[in-house]
């Protein structure tokens, strides 16, 4: 399957699962898990950063349309799409390794530790920014801290489960470009 079609299907699935399954979960009436931004983390290495941000914006604004919100998810998504390339450069095992594989995964990032640090940092940034924007409406500090902490924990758990359940087959390409 071509990467374009694969990513379009992924986009639709992530949005639908987020809106119709995960958004209906309210743990202790406070915490909702978020998984849809995994789409941004899974985007191909070899993609123009501006395009990454445009696609992240589209993903965010789709979520916002469902929530009837003025762009909180869009803001958080564009932020992590902007930061993502820096983090990849930081954690990728060696020079040029991103041409061996298509997209970030446990295998292409060289083990569990670097990959999950990559995922954790972006999850925290995404959630913190999202809940900061929401909490500002009331000036509700505990909403921000509580939700960021617990939602991050739950989202990370979900991401780990997703990674274990849906192993993405990653073909090793030769590093001679």
């Amino acid at each position: 399957m071509s990467p374009l079609i694969k990513n379009i299907i992924r986009f639709a699935l992530f949005v639908l699962i987020q809106v119709f399954v995960l958004d209906r979960i309210h743990l202790h009436q406070l915490v909702t898990p978020y998984l849809y931004f995994l789409f941004i983390l899974w985007m191909p290495f070899k993609m123009n950063r501006s395009w990454q941000m445009v696609i992240a914006f589209l993903l965010g604004i789709t979520l916002d349309a469902f929530h009837h919100h003025p762009g909180f998810h869009a803001a958080a998504c564009v932020l992590i799409a902007f930061i993502r390339p820096y983090l990849i450069n930081l954690f990728i095992p060696q020079e040029g390794a991103e041409s061996n594989y298509n997209e970030p995964s446990v295998k292409s990032m060289g083990g569990y530790l670097p990959y999950f640090i990559f995922v954790t940092v972006l999850t925290i940034i995404h959630h913190a920014w999202l809940f900061l924007l929401e909490a500002w409406q009331f000036g509700n500090l505990w909403y921000f801290f509580g939700n960021t902490l617990f939602s991050t924990a739950i989202s990370l758990l979900l991401i780990i489960i997703t990674e274990l359940l849906f192993v993405r087959k990653q073909k090793f390409k030769t590093n001679t470009i």
Binding site: H26, A135, Q137
Partner: protein, 249 residues
């Protein structure tokens, strides 16, 4: 413009999903409708016998013509397709819009006469309701026991299904479980619709008022059917207000 189109598109997808989800809630909704019907049946005229015919005369003939221009409130039933709870600004989306006679600023109640919120945006076939659990939601309310004192309902953004009532002076006796109803002072809701019951009363140290926490009648986790209430006099009131503004300037 964007939000209108977005409402139409997402509303469409949500209503498809809701068709499946609603199936599992049919028995619950059925029970609620039965209860609502029972309440309405009990209000019917033939349930009351009036032995004294003079009594009837003194009550006057009344105006019962439902088609005449005397009607003030008009009810529109609608199906909920999507609701949010735990955001800081929550909306309920219903499957009825400007093509079906809805417009902005209509009050919305559920089938058990509990206040849900008010319409803030309409597209052709869908409307977005700003629920009580919203930053900008303010409803004029009073305690059922003291119909003369009106306060304001707002949400502090902390717990779903719990709202706050301010403006009730400490001289009144407020107890847990007291009913709180709409005051009818605004053009949005008729008087007497349930908002909730008092859950917690605490005196506000900095003023002579209480801080009252209220458990809402509507369970916002599961609203399936609502009525939008159109105030047919609203346009006239608004025109009058505009005239007054002109006069004052």
């Amino acid at each position: 413009m964007f939000s209108k189109t977005a409402l139409e598109v997402t509303g469409n997808i949500s209503s498809r999903y809701n068709r499946v989800q609603y199936y599992f809630l049919l028995d619950k909704t059925n029970d609620e409708l039965l209860k609502a019907n029972e309440r309405l049946l009990n209000q019917q005229k033939q349930n009351f016998s009036q032995p004294d015919t003079g009594n009837l005369l003194s009550a006057g003939p009344g105006i019962n013509d439902t088609l005449s221009a005397n009607r003030k409130w008009l009810y529109h039933a609608a199906k909920v397709v999507q609701q949010s709870i735990i955001q800081q600004n929550n909306y309920v989306i219903i499957h009825r819009g400007s093509n079906q006679q809805l417009r902005n600023d209509l009050g919305v109640v559920d089938i058990n006469n509990g206040v849900v919120g008010k319409i803030v945006e309409t597209s052709e076939n869908f409307s977005a309701i700003m629920s009580l659990l919203h930053k900008d939601s303010k409803v004029s309310a009073k305690l059922f026991k003291y119909p003369d004192v009106a306060g304001t309902i707002f949400w502090d953004g902390k717990t779903p299904n719990i709202v706050e009532l301010i403006g009730i002076p400490k001289s009144l006796k407020v107890a847990k479980g007291d009913s709180v109803i709409t005051s009818g002072l605004t053009a949005t809701y008729p008087a007497g619709y349930m908002i909730g019951q008092v859950a917690e009363v605490s005196p506000d140290k900095s003023s002579s008022n209480y801080q009252i926490k209220i458990k809402t009648t509507v369970n916002f986790y599961n609203v399936q059917m609502v009525y939008a209430i159109d105030n047919l006099e609203q346009d006239e009131i608004k025109a009058l207000e505009k005239k007054l503004e002109k006069k004052n300037h």
